[in-house]
């Protein structure tokens, strides 16, 4: 195909971690303690940004640009 449109098919990455501090994990913290600046650095490498966010007691969900 000569002309390129916007690529809809996504790439999906799932990473699992373990830690020795049960308090951090049991309290639903762990990776959720990552600062927003750190997340922005990660997303900068991917070349997208956060446009909207929501969270509950279990996890954080972000809608990203692109």
């Amino acid at each position: 195909m000569a002309m390129s449109g916007f690529e809809g098919f996504e790439k999906r990455l799932e990473l699992h971690f373990f830690g020795d501090d049960p308090v951090m994990v049991d309290n639903n913290l762990g990776l959720r303690l990552l600062g927003f600046e750190s997340l922005e650095q990660v997303l900068n490498a991917v070349q997208c940004t956060v446009v909207s966010a929501v969270a509950n007691q279990y996890f954080d969900a972000y809608v990203l640009s692109e």
């Binding site: 809809g8 790439k11 999906r12 990473l15 699992h16 990776l31 990552l34 997340l39 490498a45 809608v63």
Partner: protein
Amino acid sequence: SSLFVYPTKIIIKTCGTTQLLKSIRPLIHYACNLGLTLCSCRYTRGSFIFPKAQPFPHTSFKEEVIYLEETLPTNLCYRKASVMPSKMTTHSWHVFTASDQSHVIPKDIYTLEVCMTELDRVLARKFFQPPGGTKSGDIAGKEMTKITGIGDINPRAMICDFAFDPCGYSMNGVHNDRYSTIHVTPEDGFSYASFECVGSIYDDDIEHLVGSLRKAVQVFRPGTLSVSTTCSSHEVWTRVAHALEPLGLKCRSCAADEFPAAGSIVFQTFTARRK
């Protein structure tokens, strides 16, 4: 695109020409600062519509696998890469998984990744903003969620939605510890929508999965659809076929494989009977 952050799990799903795999190194670094160590990795994608537009390291699956092999720490020693085929050469499922010795796969949890192309043109138009529109992405997104019926897929979920200018849409659904997500690229000629959700085979309402899948597909009425089911139990992928056939979608191919860190992955493709 979407990002989900759990205490010990991160899921990132990005489209376009994003360089997703470049997130691995900084994520490992920041997680290490929190005392967390990577124990498993799963990378999946369909076949790009415009593969030549993809930047490094996404120029080919071979290149992606080399990048993953070089980037992941050596403790993730159980590794496998595979391209799961379908009868349509434009729809293959690319899978790379890696895990360490300790990672245990929950037997009950499933992930459904649905990719839809050739969306119904009338329905796809609902994901365009009116010319000269001045609504914010949040407000326009909420309207799209309502008028398309996406909000009815799981009425129990809290929805975070966003409409892009001039077209396109993303949403995340949040319900207890379960997420769902939808992304839409509505332009004719390369229209695409995805739906993804997670659940447990022990959920009281596994029938809810069938209902959600049907509702999501009816929002778009695609000509072609693929479903990747990641689950150790065979119960889920058989229900997928049963859910879609009444919608006029016929299963054209089915491939299955086993992966470390993921368990069993079943890749099914469907086309509308009108084709």
